[in-house]
Symmetry: C2
Subunit: 635 residues, 2 copies
């Protein structure tokens, strides 16, 4: 072939080239999925959201070494009037051991004295003290990981605890790499003047593997137009991406651009970057084919600018980075001078500051490792951190992910899991984080600038109106509601309703073991309101003082027969296969300061709850009304 020069006339800025090329690729790439063993899934990216198969703990478990007792047997015990428990009134338990019926409390080993008559106790035990209720950490059916999540070692532990041994992940993109050039030789080849040792392809191969792809490096190809054409054409059928190295500049033997024009479409040839100008971005057989320059530094920069982000897009993977950042602690953390303490925190960027919300502090709460974005370490010499103070957070999640996360704090609903699952799927790189502190807790967080949105369902007793009166009363700054869903509240009971519970009155008969929600939860507000209206005193409800923080935890307690009834939403009852006695229809909305409506993650959030897919998924769960979801309600 005649030597001819291949001068490109103008070059395109990097960002423009990337945008142009990626816009084209986005439409044609196909995310493939495969199933792998959880124990081999480190670093892989979840293909879909993963839901727990089992609860953890699987049973009511002792949180201490000690004895399991019936709380009512201990009533009246005190320092001055100790009680002796006979052998049939207690069972020795270690931490993690099941606490079986009829026992419903644990007394710590330190607080008992063994005598020949039995065990002496000097204080009464509160029902459910020192017991980790079934599902405290993970509730069966609960979402453990969203889709597009890169699996960490801690996630593997929690997946296994939740009974998941196999997992659907995004398939690793397979990339063919062709070194070209008649002068290049293998590193162990025979060297003569003019030889260039081929090394770029090995660098690419390793960069691809590091980015979660699979690099397939082919032996060097001679500068032969037909040979290169044949090989690239074949590879564009068999692989997800092809890299052709060298032959992308304007030298006389640089065939790559001609080959790619013949085989497909060259989107960009030459970018305004130094080093690394001679880059070719093409599409062949609906696959991305990238021509990179031969000089090692240009090759590296070209790869980093185009191949690396493309691979991440195809593999739904972002690099994970361990770093630290300073964040404002959202609630007071008291710590003892006796030890250094590791508090798991969720971190969000709200406005211009990072906010770290402490999570459950128990050592058994494995899910808190998964939910957390990092640790706040409280020094042994420190008594703690005041709310609003800054502290250093050791992140184990990517800071960029945190910056693109919609921070939701408030009332719990299963639709939050669905939104968290749909977000990164529809808007790659964006996430939802939700923390469940009840409706009032959510509004307080919003006021303190710790969240973007607060999901609430608060009935105003005076007006009979939901949510708006609370927002008006509490906020000075312009704050609106994003309409969420209408949903059914009721009493959840075991399948077949064996105690024949038909109304709230029945819960006060002294036999039904009730399990309550925590103060500030909208469900608790509703329950208390109904009790007052019916003239029933909380003392008449057995188990009123036993509080759970989510609908699913209440449902799990009923399902496992550690309670007979609890208030909750229809979807939670359905998820746990419980019967449901409808009590009220309520409005579950998202309070949001107006200035946050412009944030891209909030916009994405609104688009999701307006979408048909969202409505379809809610229909499948049952109990939701999605009319007007996503519209803005002003007071």
């Amino acid at each position: 072939m005649e030597k001819k020069r291949n001068l490109y006339l103008k070059t395109m800025p990097v960002e423009e080239a990337r945008e142009k090329y990626f816009d084209r690729i986005r439409d044609i790439i196909e995310i493939k999925r495969e199933t792998v063993d959880v124990i081999k899934s480190l670093g892989r990216v979840t293909g879909r959201a993963v839901f727990a198969r089992y609860s953890s703990p699987l049973f009511n478990a002792s949180a201490m070494d000690g004895i399991a007792v019936k709380a009512e047997d201990t009533r009246g015990a005190s320092e001055t009037e100790p009680l002796i428990l006979r052998e049939d009134q207690y069972a020795v338990v270690d931490t993690g051991d099941p606490v079986k019926n009829p026992f419903d409390a644990v007394i710590m080993a330190e607080d008992i004295v063994e005598t020949h008559e039995g065990v002496r106790i000097t204080a009464s035990a509160a029902p459910w003290q020192h017991i980790r209720p079934i599902g405290e950490d993970i509730v069966a059916g609960e979402m453990i990981l969203p889709g597009s999540h890169r699996i960490r070692a801690i996630d593997i532990g929690v997946l296994l605890s939740a009974g998941i041994t196999q997992i659907e992940v995004v398939k690793k993109p397979e990339v063919a790499i062709f070194p070209t050039g008649s002068e290049i030789i293998e590193p162990d080849g025979h060297i003569e003047e003019g030889s260039i040792i081929e090394s770029n392809s090995r660098m690419f191969e390793n960069m691809i593997n590091q980015l979660g792809g699979v690099g397939h490096r082919f032996p060097p190809l001679k500068d032969d137009y037909d040979l290169i054409l044949e090989k690239v054409s074949d590879a564009a059928r068999r692989f997800d991406m092809v890299i052709v190295n060298a032959g992308s500049s304007a030298g006389t033997e640089d065939y790559t651009v001609h080959v790619l024009r013949e085989l497909g479409e060259v989107i960009v040839h030459g970018v305004a970057v130094k080093p690394g100008k001679p880059v070719i971005l093409a599409v062949v057989n609906d696959k991305p084919v990238i021509g990179l320059p031969g000089y090692p530094v240009s090759a590296y920069i070209g790869f980093e600018n185009f191949a690396a982000p493309l691979l991440q897009m195809m593999g739904r993977r972002r690099e994970s980075i361990n770093e630290t950042l300073e964040a404002h602690i959202s609630k007071r953390l008291v710590s003892s001078l006796k030890h250094k303490e590791y508090v798991r925190v969720k971190v969000g960027r709200v406005g211009d500051k990072f906010v770290a919300a402490p999570l459950a502090r128990g050592a058994g709460a494995a899910m808190s490792l998964v939910r957390a974005d990092g640790f706040c370490v409280i020094d042994q010499n420190s008594e703690g951190i005041e709310a609003g103070e800054k502290a250093v957070i050791e992140l184990y999640r990517d800071r960029r992910e945190i910056e693109n996360t919609a921070v939701i704090i408030g009332s719990h609903d299963l639709i939050l899991d669905i939104i968290a699952d749909m977000m990164p799927e529809r808007y790659p790189g964006m996430f939802v984080s939700s923390t469940h502190v009840g409706s009032m807790g959510g509004l307080m967080s919003l006021k303190r600038g710790e969240a973007h949105m607060a999901p609430i369902h608060l009935l105003d007793e005076e007006t009979g109106e939901y949510n708006i009166p609370y927002v008006k009363r509490l906020f000075q700054e312009p704050t609106v509601l994003i309409k969420g869903v209408g949903r059914l509240q009721g009493i959840m009971v075991k399948k077949g309703n064996p105690l024949d519970i038909k109304s709230i009155e029945k819960l006060a008969d002294g036999r039904v073991r009730y399990v309550n929600r925590q103060r500030g939860a909208g469900t608790r507000v509703l329950f208390d309101y109904r009790l007052r209206k019916l003239g029933i005193s909380p003392e008449d409800i057995r188990g009123y003082e036993r509080e759970m923080t989510t609908h699913m935890a209440v449902a799990a307690a009923v399902a496992s027969d550690s309670a007979d009834a609890g208030m909750g939403i229809l979807s939670a009852a359905n998820a746990m296969d419980l019967d449901f006695i409808e009590i009220a229809s309520e409005e579950y909305d998202f309070a949001v300061p107006e200035r946050f409506l412009e944030l891209s993650q909030v916009k994405a959030f609104i688009e999701i709850i307006k979408s048909d897919e969202f409505k379809k998924r809610l229909e499948e769960m049952g109990g939701y009304d999605t009319e007007g979801s996503g519209s803005i309600k002003r007071g």
Copy 2:
């Protein structure tokens, strides 16, 4: 066995426990090495320094597409008086093609016009223009990677370019993991009340793999004293480290601490950390054995606090982190508005600021990728960055490594490679970075606060004294010299000295092709001084204007016959198997501001050059006098 409780009375602060345990372990662990293929070495840690087998380029190579010419044939060509080169006066070359004798310059394709008589040129070519001299990027025998360096994709490319296909790396630590507890079951096992799904060991296994070790997870062991004793005893023989999970707290069935006391020595039991108090740090058969608590969060924190840093110590590996930092640019960077530019920089922490020194900007300089700590990206809309201005650096080296690096800028000597190799070996976590800009350049960098030390060999013509007069003259701030080495300077010529060069006078005979060092280099100062003393004009030296920046590059030019002679040190001549005509004995010392003498990396540096091992290695190279090396010279 009778149920008994195993109360530990006091707990130790984390840092104290770690220090106590690691002090004990440091004496017994043995760094094992193995040889692997370079293409499979990603993420591994070099066992020793790696030196180049070949130079890169392997020959004088064209840096442009164009024609290779003899510079003297082009003399006089201009716009008004163009010259025609006949077919035998040039050769068409592409970028990377060899430029063979007698050609010694390249003219770019854009600057020539092909006519039927020959090629028309309108400007003369300077000798060696647009030629990448042999060894420009890598010189055979030069150190490519120091020991204890974690291998990146870019390193693999450069290793292969330098002819290295196999590499000695630190062997991955092998860790046995034993889950224990009669109640635990496998994730796919039969679940009954009281069952706990075993998941910590899988979390550990993956954390170990991520940290560069190999996790071997054994099936769960029942709570049986003799069984646990047998398994742990056997594992402590076969593995580098053992983790026993659960059984480390004070529960009734927690045998681990008793087993470890019987088998070996328990150094720490219980640390002041929450969650994660019940940790056992022991030694069995000279191997670390760690007992970790069963609760997942405690297990995670215990692992991160003790097992993770221990593994890194054993594997000589630190986590790599990609992050950005702000640094002061040490020299003006001019960039064109035509493109975005990636400038490789070396980053150092000097005093209280980070300083980024730009490296070679050529696209062919693969070693610059290895030497660099990151990129400074100059935006397409920017004309560049002024010296001293702050710029954002995208790091691809760990920031902590950068903070523990002694930054050396100045004259080049092979002993710098030896120090860089010895530093992380003798002082794990500490590094030396050296940039070669000549003696005067080094002193200027020191003055601008860009380096900790400047290696210099500057003869004061007035006093005949080396180095001290320059330091006195240039520095206001108290600055001293760390005595380096005495070394021999001379003329390097080809083996057998075919041109019979015996003195500097001979270099002026008009036939000898000389290759010079850059202005400001001590060797250049010495050469110019001798020329003046001999009354020889630089114009009489053929090749005086051809400048190289290191001794090794000069030696490589002579060895490859692209020059006949050059000034340099004996060790460089020996490394390239050249003959050597001694000219002077000189003093090569390190200028250092007094306040830096307190820095740990400077102290470590001094200890190294005082050490017997250092002296022994210099003796092997020849040409060095190490008397008094490491002592402080004040003016």
